[in-house]
């Protein structure tokens, strides 16, 4: 029991941490590829400087994303060996493809990109960042295809007590991944765009490198707006898919104990009492939950108690209710963050389109800076809702989390690894933020020269080439 709790804590902590960096890597690779494309196609030097400056932040971030990803791959076997035995056949395949198709691609071409500025033709160098970008996006697809199997298992048959794959195409065209993947991609775009606009806003506030950061802001805010809107649109598809495939998660994320009336109202606020299985002080908006779940203003949404009764019939006695409060509030926080992102990026786009960035009010620039964290809040709460809302299952309807843990790994062992990972992750976070702040403070001009450090010989050669 103790090992189970610790293993869950460790998985949650390492995955959440990993996912601070992943969306930034995916999104930044893409936006930097766009910047470098403008440089190569139109020959505008300032876009090269942009690719280099934001590229610095990208690389600092990418390194942490890569190394924290290694744990993710090993952790299934280390902490969740019974899970690995049970699903390896289906779950392992996308992971192996991810390594073969995506990891090799991004790790090779990121190297080419870093070291190739002076050694490759412009076009080949541009191809390297695009291939890196494609690699990161492919990587996300395969790991989400694996995750989607946990949410909505398809393409398998149970044989000798194991889930064996019998339809690969079904696994990779799982309805779940078809909505989850674009959701994550647009979220990644928004996450990186808000970093770019937030940092740019800060520099505009300080009146440093104004031209450079105006241009960066413009490019960033457009992607921020597209990402924020699209993530909401896809999120709407997801909710409709969720009510079909994981009604319990949907009910929990609504704190809906009883099956709703028709049309179903959306609960904006509620004080939830999981012990008594009831809510108080609810604030409801009529019809909205029907729209979220079915895309129309009619239809009732099944409640927790009814689904619990139904699951007991199907799976036998047990408690199939996830932590309702966590699921409910994480969903609301995600929506709140998303709404703020849309409003802020829409106003920013308006300012940029009207060429009024120079007159932007300091409060807005400060708000844009702080909104760097909004997509991270949305990413975090989105995943908490997805994973906590699936409990007690690790694979929906097939295997519980309690059955998934490694029998041979003891509590003290997991405690050791948990503390060790937390320690190194904290240290990494401090170092990373320190480096981020340093690069941002120095700004684009110094960033372009900084890579030759203090060696005058280097610097001359560097300039001669570039």
């Amino acid at each position: 029991m103790e090992a189970l709790l610790l293993a869950r804590l460790q998985f949650a902590a390492t995955t959440v941490y990993h996912f601070f960096f992943v969306p930034l890597s995916i999104g930044l690779a893409f936006i930097i590829a766009i910047m470098e494309t403008i440089y190569v196609v139109k020959g505008k030097e300032e876009y090269k400087d942009m690719a280099k400056f934001w590229g610095k932040l990208f690389l600092i971030n990418f390194a942490v994303g890569v190394v924290t990803g290694i744990i993710q791959e090993f952790q299934f076997g280390m902490n969740w060996s019974d899970y690995s035995r049970f699903v390896g056949d289906v779950f392992g395949a996308p992971l192996a493809v991810e390594a073969l198709l995506a990891f090799f691609m991004e790790s090779t071409f990121i190297g080419v990109w870093i070291f190739g500025w002076n050694r490759l033709s412009k076009k080949v160098h541009l191809a390297a960042i695009w291939l890196t970008s494609i690699g990161t996006a492919l990587s996300a697809f395969w790991i989400l295809a694996a995750n989607s199997f946990m949410q909505h298992p398809v393409g398998y048959t149970i044989n000798n007590g194991r889930a064996e794959m019998n339809d690969f195409l079904a696994v990779i065209t799982n309805g779940q991944v078809l909505v989850e993947y674009p959701h994550v991609l647009f979220a990644s775009l928004a996450t990186s765009a808000f970093l770019i606009t937030g940092v740019s806003a800060w520099k505009l506030l300080k009146k440093q490198d104004v031209d450079f950061f105006k241009k960066s802001f413009k490019l960033g805010v457009i992607f921020g707006l597209i990402g924020s809107i699209m993530v909401a649109v896809v999120g709407h598809w997801q909710a409709q898919y969720l009510v079909e495939t994981q009604p319990m998660k949907m009910a929990a994320s609504e704190g809906l104990w009883e099956t709703s009336e028709d049309p179903a109202p959306w609960t904006l606020f509620a004080v939830i009492d999981p012990a008594k299985q009831e809510n108080s002080a609810e604030i409801k908006i009529p019809g909205v939950l029907s729209f979220m779940a079915y895309g129309k203003f009619s239809g009732s949404v099944p409640g927790i108690k009814d689904i619990q009764a139904q699951y007991e019939e199907t799976y036998g006695p047990g408690n199939y209710i996830p932590p309702v409060r966590t699921t409910f509030w994480s969903f609301r926080l995600m929506i709140l963050a998303g709404v703020l992102m849309i409003i802020l990026s829409a106003y920013g786009t308006y300012l940029a389109a009207k060429n009024k960035l120079g007159q932007a009010k300091p409060w807005f620039l400060r708000a844009m800076f702080l909104s760097i964290f909004l997509p991270h809040i949305a990413n975090l709460t989105g995943w908490i809702m997805t994973e906590i809302g699936r409990q007690p299952w690790t694979v929906q309807g097939l295997m519980t989390t309690a059955d998934a843990v490694s029998p041979s790994v003891s509590g003290p062992e997991v405690l050791f690894s948990l503390l060790a990972f937390l320690a190194i992750y904290t240290a990494l976070m401090i170092v990373m933020i320190y480096l981020f702040v340093r690069v941002i403070k120095k700004g684009p001009k110094e960033a372009a020269q900084d890579d030759s450090l203090n060696d005058p010989f280097d610097r001359r050669e560097h300039h001669a080439v570039s």
């Binding site: 390194a63 049970f86 392992g92 493809v97 870093i114 029998p407 203090n454």
Partner: protein
């Protein structure tokens, strides 16, 4: 004809061979930053010489892990949960190592660099050592029970045999790394790399033979696969002698390749000795886990085979291209990214 699960056993072996061959030399270069480089400039040359490569080299390990998960879920589950603590340490080291290359040059302070240098050295030294310990443990056998669970005590994992295996792998990586340095640098640094590699040849040969003898007496490997292991041993000795001769003639590229052949043969011999087992039980041979018991269903393996053989040529193609693009020797006079 190989069955699909046998083919995947070979492929997992190939991926580990690729990992030890490629990441092996960047581990070696990482180790040598501590004693081969005499100045900050030389250290930067060493780190930059593996700069464009180490990350992709490490992906061979990740792919091997992913392939084990997909093709042999029981093997992956038993081994990774059984070797829990060593793998935690490996992960911590790989995390530190990965960021150290990227972060080291970001701040121009001696203390900052020294700290990252320590991370590079320690991780480059200990990761191959721990993998050597793990692989030697696989050969010797581990307490795998009838439920396929591995409850290994400290001395099941760490003993004279496995530690010797760890040291052998570490020194082998170091020599490979020194030959890579000889191939990628010029002048004084190159000379020092060559001469250190030459000085290590005899001690490494003694260690390799010692480990071979220990394997003969302490494991069943030669009893089960004596014939083919003898052939590999002879080939290995031949490659080693040729590597030594090439080093003397300063044929760095070929010497590097020949040490690589020794690494390939060493790792291949582990998989050959295991076959058809993937885990050898020290409790009861009846609990040995064979690749047939450990493997995924035929459908999964078929899909994976198609995917792997479609993608591998591209992967190999662009990795080779990567080495070709950055084939130039490095010196301090050049612009160095790291």
């Amino acid at each position: 004809m190989l069955s699909l699960n046998e083919l995947w056993f070979v492929l997992v072996g190939v991926l580990f061979v690729g990992f030890f061959f490629l990441e092996g030399f960047d581990f070696g270069v990482g180790m040598s930053t501590k004693f081969l480089a005499k100045t900050e400039g030389e250290r930067r040359v060493l780190i930059n010489s593996i700069g464009p490569f180490w990350d992709a080299n490490e992906v061979w390990l990740l792919t091997a892990g992913g392939a084990m998960f997909a093709a042999f879920p029981h093997w992956y589950a038993t081994l990774f949960s059984g070797y829990y603590v060593p793998l935690v340490v490996v992960l911590l080291l790989l995390i530190g190592r990965g960021v150290s290359f990227e972060y080291r040059s970001k701040v121009n302070s001696e203390k900052w660099k020294k700290n990252w240098d320590n991370v590079i050295f320690t991780s480059s030294l200990l990761v191959p050592f721990l993998f050597g310990v793990v692989f030697a443990g696989l050969l010797k056998g581990l307490p795998v029970d009838k439920n396929m669970e591995l409850n290994a005590g400290l001395f099941d994992m760490v003993n004279l045999y496995t530690v010797t295996g760890g040291v052998v792998v570490t020194i082998l990586c170091l020599v490979h790394g020194l030959m890579f340095t000889a191939l990628k640098t010029t002048g004084d640094l190159q000379d020092r790399a060559r001469s250190l590699a030459k000085r290590l040849l005899v001690p490494l040969a003694v260690l390799l033979l010692l480990f071979g003898a220990m394997t003969f007496f302490m494991t069943d490997a030669f009893k089960v696969r004596g014939g083919i292991l003898a052939v590999i041993l002879v080939l290995g000795i031949a490659a080693y002698v040729i590597a030594g001769a090439l080093m003397n003639k300063k044929r760095d590229g070929w010497a590097f390749a020949m040490i690589g052949v020794v690494i390939v043969l060493a790792i291949a011999s582990v998989f050959t000795a295991l076959f058809p087992n993937v885990m050898i039980s020290s409790i009861d041979p009846a609990y040995n886990m064979t690749l047939y018991q450990a493997s995924s269903g035929p459908y999964s393996l078929k899909i994976m085979t198609i995917v792997a053989f479609t993608l591998l040529p591209f992967v190999l193609g662009y990795q080779i291209w990567n080495y070709y693009v950055f084939k130039k020797r490095l010196s301090e006079k050049e612009h160095l990214e790291y």
